[in-house]
């Protein structure tokens, strides 16, 4: 065996990492080869020298330094991940922004007339009506920007919104309530009291009474009331009526017609001026033909004025008086089933279970769909975190 091959084994020999057989071979060789024996001895002393190096003491305060860094790391793992994935964080932030912007535009609660002094709303009360009302409100309010600002209002710093606030806001507000009450007549009386109390009136009411059942049960009453209340009492009236029974449905809508209202007023004024001019012309008319022509024109203008006035009256009515439609029905007592047979009960129970399962599956799907964007973001973050960790561990 060559010396070189044997020397290859010196290190494992010194480290006692050789098999019995290999050990014997090394020992046999160095007994015969002085050079290799010398080499092994020298290598052994080198190993001894290295192993004889005294261990250095750990510097003072080393552990507390380490632990401070570790604590800091333990406290801020998320920040760390985000720092490592600025791009991803930016995308997530942008996504949130887009979603937020979309929701805002789509009409989540955000009053368009924010920050306007309360005194500006002369008698119109709050514009915000509730979620649904605001949704409609902001959509309707959007074209306001096309409204021509009166010249005297075009002051520096006065936007369309500010200008509008110098007018009285005209908002049509409607509420629809479906209530289940215990005693129809009692509830009806109380609704009337509420409406009268705020200076409103019942515009329309209809009733219906069920045919009584064979054992005298039933005979339930239901009905529909259309109420008009001054708009400043709209919310409180809706609240009060809604608390009379079990609220099954509630829909509140609002429509801002401020623009239309003042637009109509302006047109009406124009038409009136035109009427005035025509009357002056009429006074000076000389020929029958002239008179006829002017009167025809006058009739047209007056018709126009009437249309405007009618519409204005209507708008005044619906904006100063809000409409609340209430559907009342008496709660039915649990009907005694005519003790169905076992088979019927079984089929009913079976059907109900199937229906419940389908319903649940549907709900789960809807939930999944709703959660999908959030889950996507979470998944992205999780992947980022995993990659971050993987890199740190490498």
């Amino acid at each position: 065996m060559k010396c070189r091959d044997i020397r290859e084994m010196f290190s494992p020999y010194l480290d006692d990492e050789l098999s019995q057989e290999e050990r014997a071979r090394v020992e046999e060789h160095v007994r015969a080869c002085d050079k290799c024996a010398e080499e092994l001895r020298a290598l052994g002393s080198v190993v001894d020298m290295v192993r004889g190096m005294p261990p250095a003491p750990v510097p003072q305060g080393f552990r507390s330094r380490v632990m401070r860094a570790v604590e800091k790391e333990a406290r801020a793992p998320i920040r760390k991940v985000l720092r490592g994935y600025r791009g991803l964080a930016a995308i997530a932030a942008a996504l949130l922004l887009v979603v937020g912007a979309y929701l805002t535009v789509a009409g989540l609660p955000f009053p368009a007339a924010q920050g306007i002094p309360e005194s500006a709303h002369v008698g119109s009360g709050e514009v915000a009506v509730g979620d649904a009302g605001e949704a409609m409100y902001s959509k309707v309010a959007a074209p306001e920007e096309e409204l021509a600002e009166p010249a005297d209002m075009q002051m520096a710093g006065l936007g369309v919104e500010d200008v509008l606030d110098l007018y009285e806001r005209k908002v049509i507000r409607n509420a629809f309530l479906r209530l289940e009450v215990e005693d129809f007549d009692e509830s009806y009386r109380r609704i009337i009291t509420i409406v009268k109390g705020v200076g409103g009136y019942v515009q329309q009411s209809t009733f219906r009474t069920d045919e009584p059942g064979p054992e005298g049960q039933g005979g339930y009453k239901s009905g529909r009331l259309v109420l008009r209340v001054p708009s400043e009492f709209f919310e409180s009236a809706v609240e009060e009526i809604g608390s009379l029974g079990e609220l099954r449905d509630r829909e509140i809508t609002g429509q801002d017609v401020t623009m239309e209202y003042y637009d109509l007023e302006a047109r009406k004024r124009n038409a009136e001026r035109q009427e005035q001019r025509l009357l002056e012309i009429l006074a000076q008319a000389k020929t029958v033909n002239e008179i006829l022509q002017v009167e025809r024109e006058l009739a047209r203008v007056r018709g126009e004025i009437e249309v405007y006035e009618g519409r204005l009256r209507y708008l005044n009515n619906v904006t100063t008086l809000s409409t609340i439609t209430v559907e009342l029905s008496e709660a039915r007592e649990e009907e005694e089933p005519a003790s169905p047979g076992l088979w019927d009960r079984m089929t009913v129970a079976f059907r109900d279970s199937i229906r419940a399962m389908l319903d649940l599956a549907g709900r789960a799907l809807v939930f999944l769909a709703a959660a999908a964007p959030v889950l996507l973001i979470l998944a992205a973050l999780w992947l980022a975190y995993r990659r971050f960790r993987g890199r740190a561990g490498a």
Binding site: R7, L43, F62, V70, R389, A392
Partner: protein, 209 residues
């Protein structure tokens, strides 16, 4: 309350994975001595060594979740510390920094930077220091991966199997690398001995530049 000092590395690791920094603190207490000595000898300087040892513990803490216990914690920790040191040395190599122990080439040939050892003491201590300084310097002259394998074997006492895990290479590679490293070290020590002793004993040159 469990006494952290009495439980195994594995249990401490499990606790630390759940964010228990006290458990990790106990692991630091158990290994700081070994990791610091490895880093110190790798970097050649106690301050750098402390920095690298700290970095190693911090990196280990961050990567703890990725540690699945295939190897023992100590071997894994050595691996992390080794990588930290090698990374830093590679970084410095690129930036052309000079270590105290790296040979400096001048027109008169190779010079070696020396740090004067002014600490006085009994002869025995001086002698031990002398030998230590000699080996320390020779180690510094080895290529990084050779120095690493020698340190892990002869200072930290890892077995060949553990070396393979800590270095991430097969046992065969460990064997040959260690053999070459020791042969190189032998050459360096034999050639450096006279000069090194002169410097430590005489000190008359007062720290060559």
């Amino acid at each position: 309350m469990v006494n952290l000092r009495e439980i195994s590395d594995e249990q401490l690791v499990m606790r630390a994975k759940r964010g228990d920094t006290d458990a990790f603190g106990e692991l630091v207490a158990r290994y700081e001595h070994r990791i610091f000595n490895l880093a110190y000898r790798m970097m050649g300087d106690p301050e750098d060594g402390a920095d690298m040892a700290q970095e190693a513990f911090l990196r280990a803490f961050k990567a703890l979740r990725g540690f699945r216990g295939d190897a023992s914690f100590s071997t894994w920790l050595y691996r992390v510390a080794s990588n930290v040191c090698l990374d830093e040395l590679r970084r410095r190599g690129r930036r052309g920094e000079v270590s105290l122990d790296a040979p400096l080439t001048t027109e008169q040939g190779q010079l070696r930077r020396e740090v004067p050892d002014t600490a006085a003491g009994p002869a025995e201590v001086v002698e031990r220091r002398e030998a230590e300084a000699l080996v320390h310097r020779a180690l510094g002259l080895l290529p990084d991966d050779h120095r690493l394998v020698v340190l892990l074997r002869d200072i930290e006492g890892l077995s060949y199997g553990e070396l393979a895990e800590a270095l991430g290479c097969p046992v065969g590679t460990v064997k040959s690398r260690l053999n070459r490293a020791r042969a190189k070290l032998r050459e360096l020590l034999l050639s450096a001995e006279p000069e090194a002793s002169r410097v430590v004993k005489g000190n008359e040159r007062g720290g060559a530049r």
